[in-house]
């Protein structure tokens, strides 16, 4: 009897069925939750893809759930022609890629200055950078528009042109200038990320390089930058994607030059001759899909790298 009880106790403590049951329940619940959330995230995307290849007949056919019965590329063609996809894609790509690269350079430089090259007033300047994140972009929308509409560069251009100002609206210059001066879309955030990261790079690394005779600039781009790869990848992806999806600044600065985000808003009127509202929204959906497609392809390639690097960015500091 006693031996049996002892054995029982031993068995319980070794296998501990209660603990195991708890663990397995938790695993089941967790799997269910994760699958559910993934479904919610992916469902609209799959729905869009499935709808994009449906023909008009399938919209009103309740038996068509996922796989279109009348497979067609007609929607795609219509959406491409309505958005002038080729040129809009090219413009969007040009704006996104150039601003991304310029922003990366200016924000990294500024972030390094805030982290390691402290000067008088750098604290105040950094506080102002944080302030730029907090101020809604609408607050400075009109003056910003007027700055570029009557661009005079602190009155310097008066010496060169007759009118004293140039009109930069409908050119790429507003994007180049604002990213060249680290004032583009969400640049305060990127400066913050870089500063946090550079503060975590050991000081000894930098001192060793200075002792070995490299200048400050050389230290920055030979020693510090290669070590900041996670931060660079994060900022690169964020700035590219946000610039790509941005409809606020592009609609502010560009009215004749077409990019994907503005084309999509104008797509409704462009399809005006299409009477059926459901079919119209189906075409609009195809347009959204076309806008996202390059990003999805990009994400498929960099996703692994991105997820790993964000964890090491020191975003947290």
């Amino acid at each position: 009897m006693r031996v049996q009880a002892a054995r029982m106790g031993e068995w319980l403590s070794r296998k501990s069925p209660q603990e195991k049951a708890k663990l397995w329940t938790w695993i089941a619940v967790r799997t269910l939750l994760i699958l559910g959330f993934c479904y919610i995230i992916l469902f609209p995307l799959f729905l869009r893809i499935s709808v994009a290849f449906r023909s008009k007949v399938d919209i009103y056919d309740p038996t068509v759930l996922w796989i279109p019965r009348h497979f067609t590329l007609e929607n795609l063609q219509l959406a491409i022609s309505a958005t002038k996809y080729g040129s809009a894609l090219l413009n969007t790509f040009l704006i996104s890629s150039t601003t991304t690269i310029i922003q990366l350079a200016t924000c990294a430089l500024a972030g390094y200055a805030f982290a390691r090259l402290k000067f008088k007033g750098s604290g105040i300047l950094f506080a102002l950078v944080i302030f730029t994140i907090v101020v809604p972009p609408q607050t400075i929308m009109i003056p910003l528009y007027l700055t570029y509409r009557y661009f005079d560069l602190f009155g310097i251009l008066k010496w060169f042109t007759e009118k004293g100002h140039v009109n930069l609206i409908d050119t790429f210059w507003p994007f180049l200038i604002s990213s060249g001066t680290a004032m583009g879309l969400k640049n305060g955030l990127y400066i913050f990320i870089f500063r946090q990261f550079f503060r975590g790079v050991p000081k000894e690394l930098e001192e060793a390089s200075l002792v070995d005779g490299a200048g400050i600039f050389k230290t920055f781009y030979r020693i510090i930058l290669p070590n900041a790869l996670p931060a660079i990848v994060t900022v690169l992806l964020f700035s590219f994607v946000w610039q790509w999806n941005d409809s606020y600044y592009v609609s502010l600065f560009l009215s004749k030059v077409k990019v994907l985000a503005t084309q999509l808003t104008d797509m409704g009127p462009a399809l005006g001759k299409e009477p059926d509202p459901v079919y119209q929204s189906m075409l609009l959906n195809t347009g959204v899909l076309l806008m996202m497609a390059p990003l999805i392809v990009l994400y498929l390639f960099v996703q692994r790298y991105f997820v790993e690097s964000v964890e090491r960015t020191g975003l947290v500091g």
């Binding site: 938790w26 967790r30 994760i34 959330f37 993934c38 995230i41 992916l42 609209p44 995307l45 729905l47 869009r48 919209i59 009103y60 309740p62 200016t106 430089l109 500024a110 200055a113 390691r116 090259l117 750098s122 102002l128 950078v129 907090v134 101020v135 972009p137 609408q138 607050t139 400075i140 929308m141 009109i142 003056p143 910003l144 528009y145 560069l153 604002s178 001066t181 004032m183 400050i216 600039f217 994607v241 941005d246 606020y248 502010l252 985000a261 929204s281 189906m282 609009l284 959906n285 959204v288 806008m291 996202m292 999805i296 994400y299 991105f306 997820v307 964000v310 020191g314 975003l315 947290v316």
Partner: protein, 297 residues
């Protein structure tokens, strides 16, 4: 030719100025001057003339007319602020929860993470968000049935929660969150990232110590993980509030006033009132939270 050479510290400071010089120029030209100008605009009326634009000082009339004679502004302002106040807590709770889930070890974790960050890529544009809801509505109308199933779910949940004796206000809040789950998930991508990065920076020795002391998983979460996460909750709170600027009604109203009716003065006044309210919300919420924030070092 002998020049007094700079010390390393001085040299570094000058390089700092050099490195930050683009930022300094941009800060003055594209932020500080526009900010001052925008405030001046809000106090005047602006006409576009041949050689640029002319302003005429009008005092606080723009601000007064916002609240007395403008039909849309007070309504969309309260709507946007209410929307923000409702959504931000849900976003933060959800993203903390998701980050804790994604931080555990399980098979297919990297795929799950990649999917959870997908909204960062896809849903940051306002158009994409706007459109899908109308489209899902369209399929439900034409017999897709997905929208109907969704509705039923939260209805059942509501009944269940009410029967378990919760207050109706809380029940409405929770079921509302369930109904807007796509919106919540799609706007919490960056927050999940930040929390996940924070979770990884918690030293494992803390968990080991508490396990040896016999703490359960539940206790470990509330006594170790949660306190260590509080600084990030503050960060995420600020980020979520700021992020809600990017797509809301007040934003479109301000842009329309400026570029459809060309009332630049009124639009500037709108944005200043909005900015001040947001600043107050930020200030109050950070002041409330930062008292509870726990700093490890």
């Amino acid at each position: 030719m002998k020049r007094k050479s700079l010390t390393l510290e001085q040299k570094k400071a000058w390089y700092g100025v050099l490195f930050a010089s683009p930022l300094i120029i941009g800060m003055i030209m594209l932020f500080l001057l526009p900010l001052i100008q925008s405030f001046r605009f809000s106090l005047s009326s602006i006409h576009i003339v041949e050689s640029g634009f002319a302003t005429e000082y009008k005092g606080f009339t723009n601000y007064i007319s916002l609240f007395t004679s403008n039909p849309d502004y007070p309504r969309s302002l309260t709507e946007s602020v209410a929307h923000m106040l409702v959504n931000v807590p849900i976003i933060i709770i959800f993203s903390l929860f998701a980050a804790v889930l994604l931080n555990q070890k399980f098979r297919g974790r990297s795929i799950a993470r990649a999917i959870f960050f997908l909204p960062v890529i896809l849903a940051s544009s306002a158009i994409a968000n706007l459109d899908i809801s109308s489209f899902v509505g369209g399929t439900a109308m034409s017999g897709g049935g997905d929208g109907g199933a969704n509705l039923l779910q939260s209805f059942e949940l509501k009944k269940m929660l009410l029967e378990s004796g919760m207050g109706p206000a809380i029940v409405d809040y929770i079921t509302g969150a369930v109904d807007r789950i796509y919106e919540i998930i799609s706007s919490s991508g960056v927050q999940i990232l930040i929390f996940l990065a924070g979770l990884q920076s918690i030293s494992p020795s803390l968990y080991e110590a508490s396990k040896i002391e016999g703490a359960t998983g539940y206790e470990i979460f509330w006594k170790v993980t949660f306190p260590m996460m509080t600084p990030l909750i503050l960060t995420n709170l600020v980020y979520s509030i700021i992020d809600s600027f990017s797509s809301n009604k007040i934003n479109t109203l301000i842009s329309q006033t400026a570029f459809k009716t060309f009332d630049f003065g009124l639009s500037a006044a709108m944005s200043w009132v909005y900015f001040i309210i947001v600043a107050i919300i930020l200030f109050v919420s950070t002041a409330l939270i930062s008292r509870k924030v726990f700093y490890y070092d």
